[in-house]
Symmetry: D2
Subunit: 327 residues, 4 copies
């Protein structure tokens, strides 16, 4: 991450601060660029940057391009993992995917060959996410996706829309994901057909959201699966905790360790420029989000690791300024 | 980790609970064994298990073999990392060692060759710890060690004793560590001589402690470097936070992800059977260690990952029973 | 390879010797077994062992189960490589596949990821053979295969028969080959569609032959592409020499080095138990095959490397007894 | 290798041809450069190019800088391998080092970790050569070297001189070789001490020779260990054949496959710019070296693989013009 120039602390309200920071970091998008390996993703305005923060009492604060829709991409891996744990149970899932971070690229295939028997290391890399997609309940891609959409609906209150152009674009160029899926098929970690699994995986990646939607999911996770606005437990507590730990250790591609070290909140990014983050309730009374919050960020220009460049800068600045780190 | 049988919650005080759990898990040591690649380490009684918990008001609770001395081994990596950051500054250290977890064995050499330019991925694996040892201030092994001992003295109030037999034993069989060090020397990540670096590294591993000592270091880290008993900041806050993040993402060898997921507190283990863990202050009023605590555990029978087998079971049980997870 | 018990040299003619050796080595098939990952391949009688040797004057000597048909499997890699070089020219082929041996398994995918830009190391491993299949001339699998069959017809005088059951069996379980092909598609080394390429590759593997057919191809290669019986050049000399070098350095899976060292003749094996070998004309007047010969061997029980167990023993014995090594 | 411009065949004697070719290729040295990681090696005149060819009747033809002394570097690996086989027997040696080519760099350490139990793949890569150095007979570096020098004396009729400056230079910067040696020590493939082994290995690399010396060793190998001038067997036949096979499959670093394919004679190079090659007796009466020959080449400018750039061009040209390939 680039150097952060921390402005002198003033007595500003969080909303004004957020707006200042968004405009401060927005120009840095010139140092990154939107993912162009998927034509449909590369069409966006790279200088967009927006954020939405949701608090348990329903307060929403936002700034910048907070209500621009974007596809979830890898952020969806958290949701499909939760869906798999909710339907299959954690032990069933962990028999097929480990929860260990790796230092490998998200689409790496090496470790599947080197480490016998080739169990994917975690659900946040593509090999693990494909395995998770294959074990979602249902006898077809359609049924698996319906289940996933129903989990999404429970969380964000609406059925997600699939961005068909992005899906088609990824479907046609998914050679590396097909390579991973066929490899996993051979080693028996994939329970569904390869093409069926790919359809589920690529459609989950193409689910459209806004920063508000992912801030809400973040808020629910911050509260261990309890939906503080609807006042009900929508994700089992142990599943929510597991998801948060995975976000912290593996959520930001090969910069996950650096995010844990210098940002210190569970976060998951996607190549379309989204970041879903969350702050659990804090012991510190002077922290502005003492009762926890969910954070949704969107900034399509991505850095060398695949994370939103300006989104990451903004998140780091907030975390340091407001002392949001869980450590 | 083996299945944990959670006993029904009763109204017991933490000390009684701890004593029950220690005796409950002690017999499981038969499923592991003390590290025998170092003869001096293999001589201990495998069924030992002890724990010490320190609270910021000075309260100490303990159970089992809590005051048996043992060598720190890899737990010392946290301390030398802190010492390097305190003396050289974080940016200098991060230029030489990254903070990303890997899925590789602690003594793996592969990634140094595959990932150019071969910068060690984190200070908790041997390649990173050797690099850290080489940049400690001082012109000789003696001076570097003196600096490290002085940091230890600041933390635990006494100069650590070196277990000479363990040091000699490791020194003579340190082929793999020498291979790593020479590799790092060639790629210019090692600033000191190889033999000097190895002396520093192996003597830091041979520093003797008790669960009380490491519980105290844990307590200081829990309070972001503030020594709550001496009432002074002994480690800079940013260094302490960084160390905690590294413990959580990389501290328990290749089970770090599983510990983050199912225990959820920063912890660092050593092959001699020690675990240094900590609980930051919590938002939850009903948590027994609401103001944070440091935890020292000793159980020399280690599991397949190199972590204390019964110590890990005890820590997991405590974390789940008392809801200590930071997530 | 197992220990060879060399019988005392007697004044026996080669045919009698061959028959003795075939019967001597046949029982060792109990130490291997036919490839069972393809059900259709696993059905054969493992104790079969046969050999056919063809000399440039048309003399054929044979022993054992020399006329049992079997599918070529990896032996076909030599033929498709020759066909690609004949139609595209050697430089075009070498731009897409190198000619370096590796120590990796035939179906390894690691090196494609580690070595940028992921050019397959040689045409005898699956990644290279798939790339070769994709560049055969023709706009469809049908056309590419027709070209390959026409090359076969030029060599052995008849159109090869495809063993449909073997093809279907491999087609349905070709997960690893699909993984390799999709990987190569992503890195732009595959010129045809993945499914088209796989059809070509798996049908070429399913071409049926006898030891006589492959002995004839060996004989032609021994004479640098000149068909000594038909008296015409059927493979360009430079292509034939290249194919022989590849057979020697990469032809016997991960035992290629050992075959070069202890057998010393260009040879290519297939998992169905075939070995195509050849002896170039020799400077030594007392060598029984002074004018060169082609050798076809069939023994379906394979060893740990994927080579015919008894076929390899027989070939080594012959090579040492008759001093056939090219070194 | 760069494009070769083949001149029209004229009725020239081999000596005139050699002289023409040497002068033709000499200027291409500008595209490479002498090894500069060893200061003492980098001091030479890069445009040197010389060759010596020895025939079994004692005829010697030479051209260019044929009598400039240079250190053997990796060419010595052939000699120490032969010495180990002669003293320990082939099975003893093969228990410790395999004879399989790899596609890895000569100083790679990866495969020792990935492939259990980490047996070096062949004696032509550093890991294998260090293992060989450790098993030479003798209780000290001095004794092992004395044995090696005695083998050299048997071959070239004189005790080799050690280039002390080169040895010292390599000794002080041998970090990577020390890393390999300590790794092998840990996995029990190194029989001697690390420092003793390194002294043997680096002194064997620093043995000085001329093209005439290595042409003579090549000639002896061409005749299966028989010294045609002294008329006695100086290397056992099986050891000589094994050495030739290793040279062909592994002798030219990661261009070995390309040399086998386009040059086709056993050859071993060193980073100082030497190439030791040989042509076994040929069946072809019109080949200028029908009764075999030894070839020594020296051209210190090396290419990307570590092979003599102009030396390789010259060897390829000769091999193609005179049809020296063994295939």
């Amino acid at each position: 991450m680039k150097e952060l120039i921390i402005e002198p602390k003033e007595e500003k309200d969080p909303v004004s601060q957020l707006r200042d920071w968004v405009e401060h970091y927005r120009p840095f998008s010139a140092n990154g660029q939107s993912a162009n390996y998927i034509p449909a993703l590369g069409k966006v305005n790279d200088s967009q940057l927006g954020i939405c923060i949701l608090e348990p009492d329903g307060t929403m604060i936002h700034a910048g391009d907070w209500n621009v829709p974007f596809t979830l991409q890898s952020i969806s891996k958290v949701i499909s993992f939760i869906a798999a744990c909710m339907s299959r149970g954690i032990p069933y899932v962990l028999d097929r995917v480990d929860v260990e971070p790796t230092g490998d690229a998200f689409n790496s295939i090496i470790r599947l060959e080197i480490n016998k028997p080739g169990k994917p290391f975690n659900p946040m890399i593509n090999a693990g996410a494909l395995t998770i997609a294959s074990i979602l309940p249902g006898e077809s891609a359609y049924e698996k996706l319906e289940f996933l959409y129903s989990v999404m609906e429970t969380l964000i209150g609406k059925r997600p829309r699939i961005h068909e152009e992005v899906f088609q674009s990824e479907w046609e160029t998914a050679h590396r994901n097909r390579a991973l899926a066929y490899y996993l098929k051979e080693t028996n970690f994939l329970e569904a057909d390869v093409e069926e699994t790919l359809e589920v995986y690529l459609k989950q990646c193409a689910m459209e959201s806004t920063t508000e939607d992912i801030a809400l999911i973040g808020l629910i996770l911050a509260h261990d699966g309890y939906h503080p606005i609807h006042r009900k437990q929508v994700i089992p507590k142990d599943v929510a905790k597991l998801a948060k730990a995975l976000m912290l250790t593996c959520g930001m591609y090969n910069a996950s360790g650096k995010y844990a070290a210098f940002v210190g909140v569970p976060a998951k990014s996607g190549v379309s420029g989204g970041i879903m983050a969350l702050v659990p309730p804090s012991a510190r009374r002077d922290q502005p989000f003492q009762f926890g919050c969910g954070i949704g960020i969107y900034g399509p220009a991505i850095d060398e690791y695949g994370n939103s460049l300006t989104g990451g800068m903004l998140l780091k600045h907030m975390a340091q300024e407001w002392e949001l780190s869980i450590f």
